[in-house]
Symmetry: C2
Subunit: 150 residues, 2 copies
């Protein structure tokens, strides 16, 4: 699935200006790596980006892809699907529930809300297939982190 050209060009221009403003070098590989993520709607992982970029740029290495993706993430030019997890975390609460996630320390807490269990599913979502469950992820800063930063 591909992003339309006008949107892609907008993203590439934004990338160039952010990179320049950050005083970071605009290398051929960084441009190709960014273009690859920015032109896909597939949420590719590092390996997938590597294989795609490699067809046009056979000398690129996998670790450069990792380094570039991390850089893009730090610059806020790309995000990741779900909060960056170090390891899989388990949950024995089997009732339908939602999560509060602290973006600073990773604290995760369940909460229940029948209102959120029943939010209306937009047609935008239904077009992709059959909907089974809806989870709301609320991201923010937990009380503990708010205090320690004061």
């Amino acid at each position: 699935m591909t992003v339309e050209n006008s949107e892609l060009e907008r993203r590439v221009e934004h990338f160039k200006s952010v990179v320049k403003d950050a005083g970071i070098k605009l290398t051929h590989q960084r441009l190709e790596i960014f273009r690859e993520v920015a032109s896909s709607e597939d949420h590719p992982d590092a390996e997938t980006v590597f294989n795609a970029v490699r067809t046009r740029m056979p000398t690129v290495s996998l670790d450069t892809v990792y380094r570039a993706l991390r850089l893009l993430n730090d610059l806020g030019l790309v995000g990741t699907l779900g909060p960056r997890q170090e390891a899989v975390r388990f949950d024995a609460n089997l009732t339908h529930h939602h999560h509060f996630i602290c973006v600073r320390c990773g604290l995760a807490r369940d909460f229940e809300s029948t209102a959120l269990d029943n939010i209306p599913i937009t047609d935008a979502a239904k077009q992709f297939g059959r909907v089974e469950t809806t989870h709301v992820d609320i991201r923010g800063i937990c009380k503990q982190c708010l205090e320690t930063s004061r």
Copy 2:
């Protein structure tokens, strides 16, 4: 943070009955590992469960913890925080958006919805700290998978 005793006991009884019905052996280590996840509200990872169980059962090994957690997950006795990801997946769409995730093949697609951007935050969530963003994850089966299973 600890789960109340009555709830913990209910979970342990459910665990025992599911394990028995599945014809799987109820070992000391499985019980302790399940009890650890079921009594915590912290969404521990395998290493954390291992360290906690180890204090009461010094001979337990880390790989037994991994095996038990995977078994519990397969039996539907525990869930994981976020969809099980093999690798980090990137996203160059920086607008506020939500995700449709296919639980069968992992396909992920963005969609936008001002209605979902503005769902009311319950007090239940506010008590944990300062809320920054709200993401809705819709899980289901994508069109492609629905067709191939027909």
